[in-house]
């Protein structure tokens, strides 16, 4: 028997029983849509986290005074770092790509009656190298501006939007903590991260911030970018050794500073999102399986319902394998159709939900293919068994069926 005939019969049967066909397909539609949407959004979330992490700078060691988060307790506050520490790190350690000092302050920025409370970072242009921050508009500090501690600043996008709205801020003068400064650049947008709004910042030459805001020459934090060719943990160990020597810590005594490897956060966060994606994906896969069982269920019921029809077909000369093929083709067509509709729904849902979750939409061909192949396979497997039962019926018994 020609396969085309069975396909014609299967399509006719689907067309004549639209509600039944729809219900059969529904499980697969929901299953496929759920799996693909979940995995797509999960991948987007992972990518978003990676993006945020890379904003911390890859392989960056953060050197801070004190014993680190939540430790230290009483006693005198450990001293901040000096400029000599900076030069020592840059000159005596191997595997250091760039070193940037940071002095942090905060205050209100004012421009033509708009004011905005923000963070002020005093640093050098090495900061842009360490953090892989780029200037979208304008320029970085000139060496002579750094040397002199000139009143120039580079602003983040949030500050720009709140102070300047649509106007071009480069070249304008604004006031920060009551001091006038010239805007020389705007940073590229980095977005809302797990670490707060990273665009809500004003970056200035460190000497300016020290002189006008903090009043001393201390450095509260040093960022050390490790060269890709070197092992971060080795560089971290030698950095710790160097600082112990420079801060004259006796052997056996605790450090009065801490070195934090940003890669630790990155690994932890990436791991967490990957696990989350896997869990959500598994749950969605189970729903796809449930959809498949739904197909099997409806095929079984439909075979029972259609026993007389099967009897008629057998009585007028259909061979069992033809009835089987017809049911199989019906199941495959329905589940493939369901799979396709599910994929389209997933696409629409992902595109709609991704911006709400503030994650990028990433089309993953693999997930789509796997989900579709799985739905087709479900059609074949779960369509086959009820169909075989149908075809095995004796025509007379099938006809007598009420």
């Amino acid at each position: 028997m020609i396969l085309g005939t069975t396909v014609v019969l299967a399509l006719r049967a689907i067309n004549r029983h639209k509600l039944r066909s729809f219900l059969t397909t529904l499980g697969i539609i929901i299953g496929v849509a759920a799996v693909v949407t979940m995995v797509t959004l999960g991948n987007g979330a992972t990518a978003a986290v990676r993006e945020q992490i890379s904003s911390l700078g890859a392989n960056v060691l953060q050197l801070r005074p004190g014993q680190g988060f939540g430790r230290g307790g009483g006693g005198p506050r450990p001293p901040d770092f000096k400029e000599q520490d900076l030069t020592a790190i840059a000159n005596q350690l191997t595997g250091v790509r760039a070193v940037a000092p940071i002095v942090q302050s905060s205050g209100t920025a004012i421009y033509e009656g708009n004011n905005w409370s923000t963070s002020v970072y005093g640093t050098t242009s090495a900061y842009s190298e360490v953090q892989q921050w780029k200037v979208a508009d304008g320029r970085l500090f000139m060496p002579e501006e750094e040397e002199a501690g000139s009143p120039v600043c580079i602003i983040g996008n949030t500050v720009r939007n709140n102070l300047f709205q649509r106007a071009d801020p480069v070249g304008k003068r604004m006031r920060i903590k009551g001091v006038s400064c010239q805007v020389i650049g705007v940073l590229t947008t980095r977005g809302q991260g797990g670490f707060g709004d990273q665009d809500d910042v004003v970056v200035m030459p460190i000497k300016f911030v020290q002189r006008r805001f903090t009043g001393d020459r201390d450095i509260s934090q040093i960022m050390v970018a490790v060269d890709d060719a070197y092992d971060t943990s080795v560089v971290q160990a030698s950095l710790e050794q160097l600082m112990r020597e420079r801060r004259k810590i006796k052997p056996g005594a605790d450090d009065n500073f801490n070195v934090f490897d940003t890669k630790q956060i990155s690994d932890t966060l990436t791991g967490t999102t990957t696990i989350l994606t896997q869990i959500v994906g598994t749950v969605a896969a189970i729903s796809l399986l449930v959809g498949g069982i739904g197909i099997m269920n409806i095929m079984l019921v439909s075979v029972t319902e259609r026993t007389r029809e099967i009897g008629i077909r057998l009585a007028i000369g259909a061979v069992a394998s033809e009835v089987l093929t017809q049911f199989l083709v019906e199941a495959i067509v329905l589940s493939c159709l369901g799979g396709l509709i599910g994929l389209v729904l997933a696409l629409v849902a992902s595109i709609a939900i991704a911006p709400l979750m503030q994650v990028p939409f990433i089309f993953n061909i693999q997930v789509n293919l796997i989900a579709f192949a799985f739905s087709a396979a479900i059609g074949v497997i779960f369509g086959y068994f009820p169909a075989r039962r149908a075809a095995a019926l004796n025509p007379i018994d099938a006809l007598r069926h009420e």
């Binding site: 020609i2 005939t5 009585a315 007028i316 000369g317 259909a318 069992a320 004796n394 006809l399």
Partner: protein, 233 residues
Amino acid sequence: MSADPIISLRGVTKNYGSGATAFQALKGVDLDIAQGDFVAVMGPSGSGKSTTMNILGCLDVPTTGAFLFKGRHVETLDRDQRALLRRRYLGFVFQGFNLLARTTALENVELPLLYRGEDRRTRQIAGMAALDKVGLKDWWDHTPAELSGGQQQRVAIARAIVTQPDVLLADEPTGNLDSERSVEIMQLLTDLNRNSGITVLMVTHEPDMAAFARTIVHFKDGLVERVDQGAMA
């Protein structure tokens, strides 16, 4: 009428169930049907008429005994071979019409041709010709729900004859129809028998209907009681 019977049953028995509930519906039926005959099968309820028709229609197999169709043993054939025999040589009309629901008259009639692998055009021409023969040409696009009982049975007959079978088997084809519709169906069967040369076997309870046949076979208690020849001659 040719000398060689188209259908022969020899010592055919049929048992239903097993053990305590076992029941012998046919107890050794011997029967010859000549090519081109119009046979009415009569007998009390439960005497085995339908059981015999199902065996003749290759829908069921005898428990013991031989069934020869055109000189070939059918009882030794497997399911698929019997299906092909039905497809090639037999047309079956049931008491309950047994049309596919939500399917037009033409599509119902075309169905056996579809299983024969005929192309769309051939199916349509033959299907319309068969519908024309039963007088339902203008009703081709109606579904069973939109047709009267008599019309449905005529569609069923069109479906049975669309393949130009050698034998048309009808189990109480008028059982669900009033006498006027019944006479129409009988005239149709007579016409098919005379003008298309189809051998017709028909189960009926009504002597009026049986009167259309040439041969009447009487069943009783799972056996052929007697055969009346030439009722119409």
